[in-house]
Symmetry: C2
Subunit: 998 residues, 2 copies
Amino acid sequence: MERTLTFQEIILKLQEYWSNKGCLIWQPYNQQVGAGTMNPATYLRVLGPEPWNVAYVEPSVRPDDGRYGENPNRLNQHYQFQVILKPDPGNPQELYLESLMALGINPREHDIRFVEDNWESPALGAWGLGWEVWLDGQEITQFTYFQQAGGFVLDPVSVEITYGLERIAMALQRVRHFRDIQWSPSRTYGDVNLQGEYEHSKYSFEVANVERLWQLYNLYEAEANAALDQGLVLPAHDYVLKCSHTFNVLDTRGAVGVTERQALFGRMRDLARRIAVAYVEQRERLGFPWLKEEGTPQTESASPEVQGMVNQPDLFLLEIGTEELPAADLQSALEQLREKVPALLDELRLSHGEVKVMGTPRRLAVLVENLSPAQPDRTTVVKGPPAARAFDAQGQPTKAAEGFARSRGLDVSALKVQEIDGGQYVVAEVFEKGRSAVDVLSEALPDLIASLRFDKAMRWNASQVAFSRPIRWLAALLGNTVIPFEYAGLRADRVTRGLRFYQPETFTLNTSAEYQNVLRSQGILLDPAERRASIAEQVQRLMTQAGGVPKLDESLLDEVTQLVEAPTAVLGTFDPAHLKLPAEVLISVMKKHQRYFPVYASTGELLPYFITVRNGDNQYLDVVADGNAQVIGARFADASFFIQEDLKHTLEERLPRLGTLTFQYKLGSMLDKSRRVEALVDKLAPFFGLSQSDLATARRAAYLLKADLVTHMVIEMTSLQGIMGRYYAEHSGEPKGVADAIFEHYLPRFAGDSLPETLPGILLSVADRLDTLSGLFAAGLAPSGTKDPFAQRRAALGLVQVLIGRQIPFDLRQGLALAAQGLPIEASEESQNACLEFIYGRLRTHLMDDYGFRYDVVDAVMAEQAHNPFGAYRAAQALTAWVQRADWNTILPAYARCVRITRDQKEQFAVQPERFVEVEEQALYAALLQAEAAPRQPGSVDDFFAAFLPMIPVINRFFDTVLVMAEDAGVRANRLGLLQRIAALTRGVADFSKLEGF
Amino acid sequence: MERTLTFQEIILKLQEYWSNKGCLIWQPYNQQVGAGTMNPATYLRVLGPEPWNVAYVEPSVRPDDGRYGENPNRLNQHYQFQVILKPDPGNPQELYLESLMALGINPREHDIRFVEDNWESPALGAWGLGWEVWLDGQEITQFTYFQQAGGFVLDPVSVEITYGLERIAMALQRVRHFRDIQWSPSRTYGDVNLQGEYEHSKYSFEVANVERLWQLYNLYEAEANAALDQGLVLPAHDYVLKCSHTFNVLDTRGAVGVTERQALFGRMRDLARRIAVAYVEQRERLGFPWLKEEGTPQTESASPEVQGMVNQPDLFLLEIGTEELPAADLQSALEQLREKVPALLDELRLSHGEVKVMGTPRRLAVLVENLSPAQPDRTTVVKGPPAARAFDAQGQPTKAAEGFARSRGLDVSALKVQEIDGGQYVVAEVFEKGRSAVDVLSEALPDLIASLRFDKAMRWNASQVAFSRPIRWLAALLGNTVIPFEYAGLRADRVTRGLRFYQPETFTLNTSAEYQNVLRSQGILLDPAERRASIAEQVQRLMTQAGGVPKLDESLLDEVTQLVEAPTAVLGTFDPAHLKLPAEVLISVMKKHQRYFPVYASTGELLPYFITVRNGDNQYLDVVADGNAQVIGARFADASFFIQEDLKHTLEERLPRLGTLTFQYKLGSMLDKSRRVEALVDKLAPFFGLSQSDLATARRAAYLLKADLVTHMVIEMTSLQGIMGRYYAEHSGEPKGVADAIFEHYLPRFAGDSLPETLPGILLSVADRLDTLSGLFAAGLAPSGTKDPFAQRRAALGLVQVLIGRQIPFDLRQGLALAAQGLPIEASEESQNACLEFIYGRLRTHLMDDYGFRYDVVDAVMAEQAHNPFGAYRAAQALTAWVQRADWNTILPAYARCVRITRDQKEQFAVQPERFVEVEEQALYAALLQAEAAPRQPGSVDDFFAAFLPMIPVINRFFDTVLVMAEDAGVRANRLGLLQRIAALTRGVADFSKLEGF
């Protein structure tokens, strides 16, 4: 085994490696940049059509990542090694992996993964799709296909590979802290850079003068514009970089409010855009000189294979080999194929057996059993001209008939006459020979692949095909025969690829039947269900082994299933000292950042273990576990740093900063919002029955409600909002009730989440949501279609969940009106009604989907009680019991009879007892008076029926004997009035006319 | 032969090379820096005692070097490769040269030279001594031993090696323009950087907003101070770098006046100093951790050689082997040794034959023929106590005598009594055995070397020895015997080194007699006189060969003689198109920058050739010539650029800028000065007899007098002042007379230079110098000792040279008084007199040294005519003729008799003719009256003598017969009065009492 490389040798090796691969070796930029991307060698050169291959080191400064040198791998300045390949060479991942091997990394000894990571720089008007590359859980590289930069759609697309050199060195040298990286034989990284980390961190977090930095920012911007006005691209770019860095320091100093941030991003983006335009124009004026030297590489044109003959039904295989698909895209592609493939085969008239659609991150596979070798033959009847025009008086075929026959390839004598839709027409019977499956699939498969849709698709090569990630190979076999087609610059063949880093790298399939076996031979589980089961089994085994309970997070399990081809679970440990951090923080970090399964003791407490699932076999698991342990250790240390920083201030001290965090520009800051909620607390308190003590708690909690949003920990992980609020409140000396209420007001955060427990928490939960919804609707920001940037659906749903779950009768109309009073803008009646309707929609869904009430029951109760979710719920529950009663079909009709005959009446008739004619109507009137007098809880279904049931025989008798629509208008009106009074008994309870069987 | 390296491969090779030599490989800095020196990896790490070896690329931005991409090798941004070796490894030059070989440069095929170049950065409080390294005349590297940084004296000293990568690449790839350097196999330097050169040049020269940049400067400075106040060294340093770059851009924009420049330098230096202090304190607090790891390397201790015996006189050799000495230091060291060695040998009582002191840039050699193998024995008499105290009454020796005898190692019986200075003393006769020459020289030679003094000396290793440049070996032999001693960490031995790059590298000398032969075997001419003759012969031969005249610049020849060990002259050519530039520019560039000999046609015009003198043999002269031709081509192109830029404005348009160029702070700007000269023109004109037309010319020339000082060409090469002024005046449409006067006012610029020809030129030459001298003296800035920063000696000398050379009688007293009237400060009488005396001193020297007048003659005429240099000169000339006359010994005594008897009289006596007693005195009175009535030109010596000669016999008779000091007081007074009148005849002519023989 080679000696481990020093940090400087890693750089030298990479320079040498990429130089040998045809890259120009460039130098770090002489400006403080946040990433190698900002070096003009990337930022400008990816623009325009010219080829460009470059590699360079970039010391990258990110002030807010400064940790005073204390965090193992988070630094104010880290070293990137940046590679740009333009255009895509076709195998950039392989080139990259080969470079890791050149550094002495044996991939078989590690878990190397491409983990979805999309990149977007609003300030640069740029985005791209790609991955983080993980080495044993550690992000060591960013790999991105640039789609857009400076507002330009890029053509060709550039591949950007950004190595994190410290991470790689730590892994290679097996050290735990950047300080200990051996930079040269005699000096460590800490020797030469630790002091700088400390000083720059201190400068950016504590010392930088905010006022001066704002002045610098403005001067830079002015100078950038001045340079641009003279067409000076590079000087302008330099100043934009200075703007960007200055902005970052200001941000780290906590001096940038959200509104300012957006405005500045906009200004930087405009500048970046102008620079990009100017650069492209410059190159265009020069005639894009580099374009001439190098021809665009042609798609390799493999010699077309001689086709075997397919004579009998056989297994069809289509494999779309890709670079690592994001989990959601894999899921979505599989679902689309499951729907589209059978439909396609039907359309193609190819009979078949079972259709299996399976896949892993690197392949989408369609397997169709017993696919017919050919379409069946068929004869179709084609309608021609009317018989009268087809034959002349002599019965001889006319030119029209001849023409028709010729167009169908028939002799005119073969035409027949047939009656169609009552007319006589000439028809042709056309025989169609079934085409071979190979032929029709050759034509159809490109369209099938092209029909797949993704949330975000990307282009990568000259074919301009868009897909979730680049397609790198295509296998298509019917039995032993290749279905020839081309797509995305590739030619379908009989070759598949194995698991990364395993030998052989490719398999040539003699027949489609071999496919699953060759994959399995390298441990690849093609079937997601099988993978999921395998992972679950392995993870649970390790949980038990670690002394924990086998408790799995199902959504995490789903995700992990989509991330690996050949799953092997690995148990790792972390320093138990980290357990003093809030458990939610640890869990969030493990799940969200690393996709690790946490391990819980039977008491529910966390154990100092994690389980990760590697892609590969069970060799060198100790190395993999160790690498992952380092990563999680650093992440926990980072969380610890944030929390320590945050604890330097009380929550209350955060409030001024909250004033700079915009909620929505018409509605003010988050501080404004919490002030409104605070005011709303007093107005709503009476409806929630709060004690004076609870009220005080609620007021104080409202005062501090959103303060945690400006803490480092929550800025880092938004999902910890409320959790950190509670934690920091406790550590700020707030009463426990206040801390809990702050936490609870966010509840429920997701489907299945718990509800607030305490009355202050419940009240705040409702008040906050009422403010959010009334405000946003007033501001004209109702959600539409799939757009719901403020998560109003969740807010509305949470609102009704809390009211129902905590059994609180509450009139939403009143609540919204009170909330609207506090808004800084006017809430029109129209907007308030729209808001109500929006909430009703959530309530309806909730009642049906989450409680399983019948839609008609829900409609019935909502017609009368939608404004009071708990009432609606209670009514739906009771009504459900009634509609399930055996005698329901005697109950509903009795009421229905009263309603049906009256509901078209525009007029409300008064009952005049003296005008009753028949005894039955007098009896009904008496029963009505009794029912009306019965004691009823508002909205109670049961109370209604208790009052109504005695009336049923009286109603039935009435209709049997009395003619309601009497000739005498007065008599008729009197009888209608009586029935109207009966119909009205359900007011405030439900509208039974919505029920089935009414 | 290997394939030529690309630019990126050159960098990779250097990184690899220095990494293998134990250097840490560092990265370019993320600030715009002017040089790798400013990277903290140099600027900070050279401070303090800790070792540090580092190498890195540094893209270095020098805005004022921007040439829009047009100059072949002058760039806004060039790439340095920076190496720091701390402490000195003992062989840094060799390590460096080996790196060139690693790049594929075969030194035998080129002329590689270490050319004196000292480095100073006022803004960084730093300086060092070293060289430019020339490759075929091209500066490819700066090689410096840092002596001081941030105001700290450095210990240890760091070696800084700064490669100019473009220059090296151009030489390696044999391309003529940086654009054409192959950066990577597929891209040129121009491909990737040409546009940037254009844009950054345009930005810095034309676009940068001066007001905004000043604001930036001030903000940076404030932020640097704020960071420093918190002890943040690196953030502060970053801001100082930003200050520095911003300053450079402002300077390039022409926005920095001289006063501002000094003030800003002072502020930056203070900051740099504070940063340095803070850094060293920081390291000290850490206990200088790197010091512990690596022990200071000990001086290698070679096994002491067994000494041979020296029995007879033999050749003594001392060779001090050095890194390349500056020409002046070599010259000075040789002179010092020529004086000190014989004195030392005398002191050491070593008899010897001829002493030869010779040397080259790499060695100082002392050769002493027939040096005695030992001192002679000697007996000395030592005086003891008085005899009376040494012996008691009995004649027995006392304790005093015994003590004295013992102290001299004698028995008391050996003492003798001797009379000394008239007293009786005990004496001891002490015999001293002569010591061997080897022993006494061993002791004396270190002191000899240590006694050599240089204008600027440097330290390099732990010995703390200071010398002109590092001493790297010592050879000391008496015949075949080494004289053992240690100095500067070296042990003297019998080994010398040959010519660089030639084999063998070292020679072991059996005897001192071999020394000169082994050097000569590699072409080294040890004797400067021999080298000078060889160079002169070769250069003149090539001049003739090129069709020119063999005209040599002697001072250049002197300098070149001190720059090479083995001279070979090389003829090169340049593009004749450059001949359209002013010849003075071409000549200056060739001589000053490159030490080339220009070649003149017999017409006096330049030919498109140059002659350089390489160090080495006559192989590959074509390569050397070609390389040098490239260099001079680029330099001429640069001059052309400056002139083109300058020609965009008229001289008159330059004047406002001249207002920012300080002459002296009390005396205002250069513009103020030229305004004063302009005013003085009118006042002085009457004395110079100017016509109205000449006066107009002089006024206009005065108006534009100094405008060329702010042109690019003169800023670049100050020696072209006046020359460019004339050139630009002509191109600004000024009359030829004005242009000439501008040029002429600087004349004479150096010894032997021509004088102004035209009256306006003469007048301005005088007026400018009067203003300079009166002003500076008024400001209290008289030169003192060796300090003469304003070159007042030259001004005063020029003043008298012009007045004498152009035969203009002019009263300096009046001139200075008129000049003083225009000064912005008061010129005291005292200061004006001091100024006059200062000028008189120059005049005296001039008359003696340049005209060869006898000192007494000069003193005589100056006593009466110093205020009028031309008069003094004329008088000295005439008087010289008189004092050389055969009958001078009859003339002077006659006059002297009259003077001597009267000169002690305090009183001036009136002559009363009626009181004459004797006829001889009456005759003398008559002769006097006749002489007084004779027509005489003022100050004319001849006229004086014409009047005086007839009086001589009368005078003689008078003294023979008349007793001057008569008893009668009235008679005596009358006679004295008569003689006083005769003595006064020389007034305004000369004071003959100063003459020898008076």
